[in-house]
């Protein structure tokens, strides 16, 4: 590899690219959080409590996804139940 090649190829390897990639992920994540209604964490907590009356699930079993589309908002609830029957109280 010649000197010129070294200088040319060194460019995309710089830390600036790492910075850019990290920022793209971070900013995209921040933005999805932004428009969320403030009641979501509480909603998630309460749903979890109700489910736990009937099924033994762990803390991450309930996920609440909120998405904004052009004309409406979608609230998506995802509840993961334990695969064995032992979980039942």
């Amino acid at each position: 590899m010649g000197l010129l090649d070294y200088f040319r190829s060194s460019r995309p390897k710089g830390s600036a690219n790492v910075a850019k990639e990290r920022l793209q992920i971070l900013v995209a994540h921040d933005r999805t959080q932004r428009g969320r209604p403030s009641y979501l964490p509480k909603l998630q907590q309460e749903i979890l409590e109700v489910i736990r009356k009937y099924v033994e699930v762990d803390m991450n079993a309930v996920s609440v996804k909120y998405e904004q589309e052009d004309s409406h908002e979608v609230l998506e609830l995802n509840i993961v139940l334990p695969d064995t029957a032992e979980g039942r109280i």
Partner: protein, 284 residues
């Protein structure tokens, strides 16, 4: 404060001032430097301009403007009706169109109430073309007060991860917690001003480029201010750097002012200055 026109905001300003907030989220990125330069630049182009320091408790704008020894009353005095605007405004000695409203040095930040700030801005809006609001760092009370009544926002960003992230968070706040957002008016016009840009480090891949930052934030780029020794020199002597016509930063700020006023000006200082033989050798 009506008078919104997307095409020719400047023509509309004949009646009520346009309120511009200089904001960033992250501290120390160049907001005060920018506020002083923009205000001076607008005033020099013939627009009656007032620049307000919202950094209550940490006032600095007066120092950068070189009028620190003429401060008698401040923004909080006016809000509390302990002084009227004419007593508190400091007329710039270099430019007749320019006035400074200093922040108070001692009082607590809650002195800036939404009603109080609104009242002062309303009064100023009738006598000026532009009101430049120098925001404090952070996303707390002072910063939200500085942006609440804005028509335009200049988001000052350094090519660095935490600054870019904070700028993006600030964009979220501008679009949800401002007067325009709350009253469902046309949103605040947002502009990106990239400062402390070092083309040499960008070329080496050590610093985010203008394109990188713009791609992440997707904002209209209003200017790129290079990292420059002239900024410190200017602040040492209390002269807004835009008055230093010889310096790269001064020229870049003058270009930014022109763009804000609607001129089409190409961006400068984005490349490393050509330095003859060595440079040509490496670039092939």
């Amino acid at each position: 404060m009506q008078g919104w026109a997307t095409d020719h905001p400047i023509l509309e300003a004949a009646t009520l001032a346009r309120i511009i907030v200089i904001t960033s989220g992250k501290g120390g990125v160049g907001k005060t430097t920018t506020s002083a330069a923009l205000a001076m630049g607008l005033a020099q182009r013939g627009h009656r301009t007032v620049v307000i320091d919202f950094d209550v408790g940490l006032r600095n704008l007066d120092l950068i403007m070189g009028c620190e020894r003429r401060v008698v009353y401040d923004f909080v005095n006016v809000i509390n009706q302990e002084a009227n605007l004419n007593q508190a405004l400091i007329r710039d000695k270099r430019c007749d169109n320019l006035y400074v409203l200093p922040a108070s040095q001692t009082r607590d930040k809650d002195a800036l109430t939404k009603e109080g700030v609104g009242r002062v801005l309303e009064e100023l809006a009738h006598g000026y073309d532009f009101i430049v609001c120098d925001s404090p760092a952070g996303i707390e009370h002072g910063a939200t007060m500085a942006m609440y009544y804005a028509d335009d926002a200049i988001v000052v960003t350094n090519p660095e991860v935490s600054s870019v992230r904070d700028s993006d968070r600030m964009l979220g706040i501008l679009s949800s917690k401002s007067r325009r957002a709350e009253s469902n008016e046309e949103p605040i016009r947002e502009f990106l001003l990239l400062t402390r840009y070092d083309p040499a480090r960008v070329e080496k891949g050590e610093m985010l480029s203008v394109d990188d930052v713009q791609e992440i934030l997707s904002l209209t780029l209003i200017g790129v201010i290079p990292e420059s020794k002239s900024v410190l020199t200017a602040s040492n002597s209390g002269v807004p750097v835009v008055l230093d016509r010889e310096s790269d930063a001064g020229k870049a700020y003058a270009d930014t002012v022109a763009r804000y006023l609607g001129d089409e000006v190409p961006h400068r200082f984005l490349q490393v200055e050509k330095k003859g033989f060595l440079k040509r050798f490496f670039r092939g």
